[in-house]
Amino acid sequence: MGILVFCDHDNGQFGAATLNAVSAARQIGGDIHLLVAGDTSGTIATEAAAIAGVAKVLVADGAEYAHGLAENLAPLICDLASQYSHILAPATTTGKNIMPRVAALLDVMQISDIIKIDDANTFQRPIYAGNALSTVRSDETTKIITVRSTAFEAALAEGGSATVEKIGNNGDSGLSSYVKSELSSTDRPELTSAPIVISGGRGMQDGANFAMLEKVADKLGAAVGASRAAVDAGFVPNDYQVGQTGKVVAPDLYVAVGISGAIQHLAGMKDSKVIVAINKDDEAPIFQVADFGLVADLFDAVPELEKELG
């Protein structure tokens, strides 16, 4: 039996996290099929067919799949389930929304946010904001899994030559409908896959001061993130939030500016390769995880950093 991977996409491009989920599927082992459901999923299907390691792309084309509505997508996935030993989705907000609905319809207990695969039945996942790691075994006939993207390398987006097969739709549930999106647009790299992230916290004092971080980010090709306190205060939009309940990042370099280092924030960034903390309080817990700590007022240090980077 093969593995089905749910492709997260925006009807234009597939999300990078899908590539990490494909890698996890390859580690489990078996024929990998990708499910592309959406409006105009034709173009994405062509891209998806090129992902290395994918044997087949299943395409369900229909307006009812365009916006990731769980009420429409879960029955579609359930209809396919009997053919697969595992069904994986990236642990994006789309994957987290849909997969538990699939699991319950199949009467299966889901394994959320896996970070390591011991064997085809045994997986490791973080609990308590990553302060403990739990290894669980599942004997369910179909394993429903979401994959933490930072824990698995991205599969190559090219080199594959999967067959593409159209599958039937099962219509609109009528339970929910899409109204609109308010997406933050940025020219900077995406937070969860950027090689460098610079995040600001409550210490930034207001949204306008994030311009200082953006200038540094532009010099480094970095994404900009934030703590919950900075988002709650309205300095930046919600999609900047790094942490237990925001995004999980693991860049080569993470720079925390004016962030104290609460465990809920650390949960989202402590697997970064190199961590820098800039904070005026030398007792701030963020220094306990920082490779390089600078005790300084950020309003001096950040402009200086920008200058120093030339």
């Binding site: 009420e71 879960a74 889901q110 409908s177 308010e182 480094l220």
Partner: protein
């Protein structure tokens, strides 16, 4: 409309958890417990609906050991009307929780179930979606704004790319995110009043649900600790280290 709010008792979010020496789980003995922060937000939202006359009754339900009654009392002190306690052991999986909640929904017939989007102990983020699946209801997840109007609700969801607006059919399951509201504190008079509010108990057997775990916990471990770093004297030294030592810029 009746609103049902499931609440979970978890280790307080300020506590640093410790893994048990035998790697079977985390230490729960003598640890400060509290209501899951997301569930507090769900209770608060239910109370606001009631205050705006959008709800007649707010019923809270908690599944777990006898101490969960304290968690229910906390919600009652915030202003909920009535509690239901379902006695069960500590480790009960989201799928079983969803099945128990489905049985409660069938008895109580609420028009809305407000749940926290995740519990900060197992971080599963499953129960609301599973309950919606079992009931065949609409699900609004990770919600930061909610407006109920007749048999529809307008919701705003926090998604990876920003915000998403949906309209969902009622009755529905709505899972709440951090920015939906700021929960109130219970006042002393309300804490006293809460002691007299009705709190019913149900058993798993009465609800006829199989709660045997589906997953086996092989082991629970501490994550590898990061090695202590160094403090740099100034920005110049920082940039020099990042360039030449860490080689990340």
């Amino acid at each position: 409309m009746k609103v049902l709010v499931p609440v979970k008792r978890v280790i307080d979010y300020n506590v640093k958890v410790r893994v048990k020496a035998d790697n079977s789980g985390v230490e729960l003995a003598n640890v400060k417990m509290a209501m899951n922060p997301f569930d507090e937000i769900a209770v608060e939202q239910a109370l606001r609906l009631k205050e705006a006359s959008g709800a007649e009754e707010v019923v809270v339900v908690s599944i777990g050991p006898a101490q969960n009654q304290e968690t229910i009392r906390t919600a009652l002190a915030m202003g909920a009307d009535r509690g239901i306690h379902i006695e069960a052991s500590h480790d009960i999986e989201p799928l079983a929780v969803a099945k128990l909640l489905k049985a409660v929904v069938e008895r109580e017939t609420p028009g809305l179930v407000l749940v926290g989007k995740q519990a900060i102990d197992d971080d599963c983020n499953q129960t609301g979606q599973m309950l919606a699946a079992l009931l065949g209801w609409a699900q609004g997840t990770f919600v930061s704004a909610l407006e109920v109007a007749g048999d529809k609700a307008k919701i705003v969801r926090e998604v990876d790319g920003g915000l998403e607006h949906l309209e969902i059919q009622m009755p529905a399951i709505v899972s709440v995110d951090l920015r939906l509201n700021e929960p109130r504190y219970a006042s002393l008079p309300n804490i006293m009043k809460a002691k007299k509010k009705p709190l019913d108990s149900l058993t798993v057997d009465e609800l006829g649900v199989d709660i045997n775990p589906r997953l086996t916990i092989v082991k629970v471990e501490e994550p590898a600790a990061r090695e202590a770093g160094i403090k740099v004297a100034d920005v110049k030294e920082l940039v020099e280290k990042l360039k030449n030592e860490a080689k990340v810029i």
